[in-house]
């Protein structure tokens, strides 16, 4: 109310020029467009259910989507690498080795069929147009919700000749955790594959001596897997026990 009791002159509200959803697309519910790759869903906001959470956020369900495949032609040197790789694959008899290619945040990822990995590693290292002579090792990732492709092995390759870096990603299901070893091509992966076996239980077929490397030899389980029980040491304080970190109430 303004002073003097005068009536405010409120301008007539203009109708929005377009639908509200179009004005603010970030408010629209996430849709599974083909350019993203869903690997599961996130429930609630605090990592617990049935706790009497009355905030309403407990019922929140959001898909977990990763960047999806890129379309040819790619930009810049990515296209050069992809084209050289196509030629090399045709020559090596593994035309269908690549499942898809993801370009995200300037990094290119080749998702490779696991049965073709050993051959692909050879091509990537030896082809004169590719020359990825340096492998930065393998990193395992466990996506328990990505049915049929739970375990991923991620290789970072570097071409010092062309100063390029690519990522090669291979997946295998939890019930058949086998991926071919590429130690014959990149001897540096000897310890890296042992570490990934130790931590994720991925069996690298053809590795010269696949044993545990960081954990004790008789350790049960593979600690970096998402389903590895964290246990937790029962610390009691005035009758209340502290649950292990994966069962605590926390933001997720």
């Amino acid at each position: 109310m303004t002073e003097g009791g005068q009536k405010d002159v409120v301008p007539e509200p203009k109708p929005p020029e377009q639908a509200a959803v179009d004005q603010s697309p970030e408010n629209a519910p996430a849709t599974l467009e083909p350019e993203v790759h869903a690997v599961g869903e996130r429930q609630g906001m605090f990592g617990v259910t049935g706790s009497g959470d009355t905030s309403g956020y407990g019922g929140l369900v959001q898909p977990i989507v990763f960047p999806g495949p890129a379309q040819r032609p790619f930009d810049g040197w990515h296209e050069e690498v992809a084209a050289a790789l196509d030629t090399a694959m045709a020559g090596g008899g593994v035309e269908h080795a690549i499942e898809n290619v993801v370009i995200d945040r300037g990094e290119i990822t080749f998702h490779v069929r696991r049965q073709d990995l050993a051959q692909m590693a050879k091509l990537l290292r030896d082809d004169p147009a590719l020359r990825f002579e340096f492998c930065s090792g393998v990193s395992g990732v466990h996506y328990p919700q990505d049915a049929g492709r739970e375990l991923h092995a991620v290789y970072h390759l570097l071409s010092m000749t062309f100063n390029r870096r690519i990522r090669v990603e291979v997946s295998c299901p939890d019930d058949d955790p086998h991926i071919p070893s590429i130690v014959a091509t990149y001897p540096t992966n000897d310890w890296h594959e042992r570490e990934t076996f130790d931590m994720f239980g991925i069996v690298f077929d053809g590795h010269p001596a696949l044993t545990r490397i960081l954990m004790p030899d008789d350790w049960p389980g593979h600690p970096q897997r998402k389903d590895y029980p964290l246990g937790g040491i029962p610390v009691e304080y005035k009758g209340g026990a502290i649950p292990p970190p994966d069962q605590r109430r926390s933001y997720n």
Binding site: R105, S136, V141, W191, L214
Partner: protein, 447 residues
């Protein structure tokens, strides 16, 4: 050997694998006698995991023919603390506190590679303020000096050159004093945060840095004078731990061993990050591919680092009171600290601001500290040139407030694989020199 004169500490017992001696340094007579009784000279020696010359808890299994090493294997994992797993249950910012503890001689590099990965995932790589970038470079290069000093110092100690050790640690202490002044801690700083660095430079820091540069310019030549042409030092290092370029590439060896093989590969030059393209420095190489070459590469690199520190200090002089954290209040961690009457704590100005002046600032503070920020789903790998070679963090986000996976490609881990090829066929005393020339830090190897 009669079991009646069994030594309590250095005893022998029969196993299916042969006779096993436990050596703790007390009595070698039994072992010498026992070996004399055996027909062949082949002995398997288990060295470590607790041994003064193995750079921490590294276990070596050496098969010897006389004094010649026929097989060398490493046993690692004694320092595995599950840092990568722990990071999955902490927020993105808290991850810095964990990963800084991996390679404890180069903590800023662990922080930097992780933070660069997180920043790429967040898409804020271009928004990092200039001052934060320069401070990162300054701290990283000071850290390279301190790390190389420890490498040279402990390497000298392991071959009996104790003076190299004492002067190395003398200078390293000065660098750690600078770290303490700037970050508050000598190690495990957790100072480089997603979006920038935790704190601005304290008053007087630039003067201290300049004084350090001046002092180091006098003292670095001491190493050259003491070691470079020292016949004993050269006699122990030259030709030892030989690994040519093709061997380096096959084994994924990076850092000083690669450059000592003559290949000028340095990520600061080839794939610059944090604004390294703006600094004037040279990539140092050597052509002997042996331990002596690696020593000379490290010595020269300290000079280059000093040059970069000097340039960074000059740039910082013109950046007084510039921001050191990204502007986005949904990412910038509220780490405004100040010295109060009861020690260091939250800055009273900051508390006044959030409690009395700005509801929005209070909300940001609360949300960041309790929930943290969300990072869009995806993966990133931004390697950097650590004192030991290519250090990279493969960070994967599922769109949540915590890392879905953070894997560190630690150069110590990878380079340590060269132990066998560097020491087999050589003398047992040279194993120590070869490993010292790799400069493995077990905190980084085992993580």
């Amino acid at each position: 050997m009669s079991t009646t004169e069994q030594d309590l500490y250095a005893g022998a017992n029969e196993t299916t694998e042969g006779r096993v001696f436990t050596v703790t340094g007390q009595d070698w007579d039994q072992i010498a006698q026992g070996i004399a009784e055996e027909a062949d000279e082949r002995v398997v020696v288990n060295m470590g995991p607790q041994h003064p010359s193995t750079h921490g808890v590294l276990r070596l299994i050496l098969e010897l023919e006389g004094e010649t090493v026929t097989e060398a294997r490493c046993g690692i994992g004694y320092l595995h603390t599950g840092i990568e797993k722990n990071m999955e249950y902490r927020s993105w910012v808290q991850g810095v506190t964990f990963c800084t503890r991996m390679d404890y001689l180069a903590p800023f590099y662990n922080e930097a590679t992780y933070v660069l990965g997180v920043e790429r995932l967040l898409g804020i790589e271009d928004d990092i303020p200039e001052k934060a970038q320069v401070m990162r470079v300054l701290l990283m290069e000071l850290n390279r000096i301190s790390s190389h000093l420890v490498c040279i110092a402990t390497g000298g100690m392991e071959i009996g050159a104790l003076t190299v050790m004492t002067i190395g640690f003398r200078e390293r202490e000065l660098v750690l004093d600078l770290f303490e002044l700037i970050t508050g801690l000598r190690m495990n700083h957790a100072f480089i945060r997603p979006g920038g660095v935790a704190q601005d430079l304290p008053p007087g820091a630039l003067d201290e840095i300049r004084a350090f540069i001046a002092l180091m310019k006098k003292r670095l030549p001491e190493y050259a004078a003491l070691c470079n042409a020292n016949p004993i030092f050269k006699g122990r290092l030259e030709g030892v731990g030989h690994l040519e370029l093709d061997g380096c590439l096959a084994l994924g060896i990076s850092g000083p061993p690669l450059r000592a093989a003559g290949y000028p590969w340095d990520l600061r030059k080839t794939q610059p990050y944090s604004g390294y393209e703006d600094y004037d420095f040279e990539v140092q190489t050597w052509d002997t591919a042996d331990s002596y070459g690696r020593f000379r590469v490290r010595l020269s690199e300290m000079w280059e680092s000093l040059k970069i520190v000097e340039q960074a200090a000059n740039r910082l002089a013109g950046l007084e009171a510039a921001p050191v954290m990204v502007e986005d209040k949904k990412i910038a961690w509220p780490s405004q600290l100040a010295i109060g009457s009861d020690g260091m704590g939250n800055s009273l100005d900051h508390i006044r601001h959030i409690m009395g002046e700005s509801m929005e600032a209070l909300i940001h503070h609360f949300k960041l500290v309790t929930e943290g920020f969300r990072v869009p789903a995806g993966q990133a790998y931004v390697p950097i040139e650590s004192p030991r070679g290519e250090l990279g963090a493969h960070v994967v986000s599922d769109g949540g407030t915590r890392p879905f996976r953070a894997h560190f490609r630690d150069p110590s881990f990878t380079n340590l694989q060269a132990t066998s090829v560097m020491s087999e066929g050589g003398m047992v005393a040279d194993v120590i020199v070869a490993i010292a020339s790799i400069d493995p830090v077990m905190g980084g190897v085992d993580r």
